[in-house]
């Protein structure tokens, strides 16, 4: 009914649009969905309730860093608006929430989504929609390895399999006749670590004499069953691939069983704060090795470190964050990389360009990571962080050993 009368208006609108396009294509200033003249919209889903809620603080720490950056003027004049939604670690919630962020909130990119199952569930959708799925908060190796089929997805932290290969290298170099027992959490996390260990040992995989799994529904004290089986198998080396709620009791129970194997503890459970709880509860912690790539806030050697002082300043923006929690410095570190990528995009703030920079042109020194660790991607390597350093526990602290080990090119 209004069609006839409004066609002059339509023509006028068309002319305006054409001239606007013409104007913007001359300069290289381009924007995309989720970018306004003064803001960049980022989206995230993470577990903030339910059994995995301990991870939820990561998003709050990331937001703290964005608040800090916004306070200093933002990224090239734009402030970052970070929308965090609670998916309770459940893919059935992550999928609709991610769709909401993309289709309703119209975010520019998804950042630091947490959980292997949840991020796998949304991966195809985001890649089909060509929305960047940046720096997922999981070490599942698949996120870096599948770049060729999912070029809009990128991890950040060292993949679990890479970390386990470093343990394998260390064992083959220093304890070549070890008999290995493995205690692992029966989920993607624990299974990924175990695979990395087996692959890293290669033809020596028979060094593993026994492996026992446990489900997250176990009462932690029942781990005594798995651990005494491992002890009885004759293992003299114990790998613990567990989250802190289980690794701490595992360390205590191992001591309680009168067993003192060489222990390899995965990095997620290594923060000093957890080791402290284990020690107080009776764990001997005489021979524990782990790897690290990120500075531990409770480590006295970083007290006057510039990066650590910046971290403390940043984390003060988050009222619910415990500054000593290793998860929080992780959040700040990955947020640093995100801001770095946005800055590098300059005035070409399109999804494609940001993705290109993140996945193939990253070359960053991050003040929150161990000295020497670089955040690097190239056209053939899409694992941003692949260096870790072996550390051993003594005198109530972790002590870095040797130098950084580089796992690049092995996965």
């Amino acid at each position: 009914m209004t069609g006839r009368a409004s066609w002059p208006a339509a023509v006028a609108a068309f002319l305006v649009a054409v001239s606007a396009c013409g104007g913007s294509s001359a300069a290289s200033a381009q924007t995309d969905v989720g970018i306004t003249s003064d803001s960049i919209l980022l989206g995230n889903t993470i577990a903030q309730s339910g059994p995995a809620a301990a991870y939820g603080t990561i998003a709050n720490a990331e937001n703290a860093y964005f608040t800090y950056v916004n306070g200093s003027g933002g990224v090239n004049g734009r402030k970052i608006k970070f929308t965090i939604l609670d998916d309770a670690y459940n893919p059935a919630q992550a999928v609709p929430l991610t769709k909401q962020l993309v289709e309703q909130n119209q975010v520019f990119a998804m950042f630091s989504g947490l959980g292997t199952e949840t991020q796998t569930a949304v991966r195809d959708y985001l890649n089909t929609q060509k929305v960047p799925q940046l720096f997922v908060a999981t070490g599942a190796t698949t996120f870096g390895a599948d770049y060729s089929s999912h070029s809009w997805t990128l991890g950040w932290q060292p993949p679990y399999q890479g970390e386990a290969r470093i343990y394998a290298k260390d064992i083959l170099a220093n304890h070549a006749s070890a008999k290995i027992g493995v205690l692992y959490q029966n989920d993607d996390y624990g299974q990924d670590y175990l695979k990395g260990l087996k692959d890293g040992l290669g033809s020596n995989a028979s060094m593993i004499v026994d492996s026992e799994s446990y489900d997250v529904t176990a009462a932690a004290s029942s781990l005594a069953s798995q651990l005494s089986k491992l002890k009885a198998s004759g293992a003299d080396t114990l790998f613990i691939f567990a989250t802190p709620g289980f690794s701490i009791p595992a360390l205590v129970i191992t001591t309680k069983l009168g067993w003192s194997p060489q222990i390899y503890l995965n990095s997620v459970s290594a923060p000093q704060v957890y080791m402290g709880i284990a020690a107080k509860s009776g764990a001997a912690l005489t021979n524990v090795t782990s790897v690290g790539y990120i500075k531990d806030p409770t480590d006295p050697q970083w007290t006057n470190d510039a990066g650590m002082m910046l971290y403390r300043q940043v984390i003060a923006n988050c009222s619910t964050c415990n500054a000593q929690d290793g998860f929080n410095i992780y959040g700040v570190a990955v947020a640093y990389t995100m801001v770095d990528v946005l800055k590098q995009a300059g005035s070409n703030l399109t999804r494609a360009n940001v993705m290109k920079i993140a996945a193939t042109e990253l070359n960053e020194t991050n003040p929150f990571l161990l000295p020497g660790v670089t955040v690097n991607t190239t056209s053939s390597d899409h694992f941003p962080i692949m260096q870790e350093q072996v550390e051993t526990w003594s005198n109530n602290a972790w002590h870095l050993q040797g130098s950084l080990i580089n796992e690049r090119g092995t996965l």
């Binding site: 489900d215 176990a218 029942s222 781990l223 005594a224 069953s225 798995q226 009885a232 009168g258």
Partner: protein, 293 residues
Amino acid sequence: MQEFLQQVVSGLATGGIFASLALALVLIYNAMGLVNFAQGEMAMFATFIALVLIDHGLSYWIALPLTLVIAFAGGVVIQRVVIRPVERAPVLTLVIVTLGLATLVNGMAGFLFGYVPRSFPTPFSASTVNILGALASYQDLGVIAVSGVVLVLIYLLLQRTTLGLALRAASHHPDASRLLGIRVSWMLALGWGLASAVGAVSGMLAAPILLLQPNMMQTVIIYAFAAAVLGGIESPLGAVVGGLIVGVTVNLAGAYVPGVGGDLQLAVAFAIIIAVLIVKPNGLFGTASLRRV
């Protein structure tokens, strides 16, 4: 043989934790014929309160009785406010209310205290003692010992005092009890208060071993259900014996039964529940009851 013995001893240790929570479940059942799905969460919350008290400088031995008193009061308040309005409602309503309570308490704990696991002090030392070649820590033995003491106290209360008699009478025959002058409603409140206090003990025993965090008791309560069902849901002795048996069975099944691994420990507890309910629904020490129509 050595390892088998260790599995059994470790199972007894874990079973002690299940037993302590099962005692609270049995108390509630004795008071009102209902299993409280929120028992574990209430126990966890009470333990957090204890931690707050200790963090504020109180010594463990002052915080402990104070927490028991607070837990008792909390149990009474919950019964008066949440349970009493639906006292006479069908089982389903009560189950849903306790489920709602469990969700609420768990959410509040997460909101107030965060999800990072925390250590909790214990008066028992962590050093180990050798039992026929198997090792257990004084902590583990302490859990079993304290559960035994609580068991004796509950038994004495229920079977040897007038108050206990009134409690049981109010639960089994509320109308007759009213005629005898028993304040039935307050007996129920008392039952809830006691159960809450026993739960607090359980939480404070478990926290040093399981680490204190809002989800600490989420699966322990299922093991405790299995213990209570196995032992006979009205019998405090059954709760303790049941707890120990569940602990040992879970360990042995996971370690020795082919096809069952460490990852199916909770499924073993589920199997115990089903097996008992089908074969001997009244458990080891329960008495069969007639349903009059």
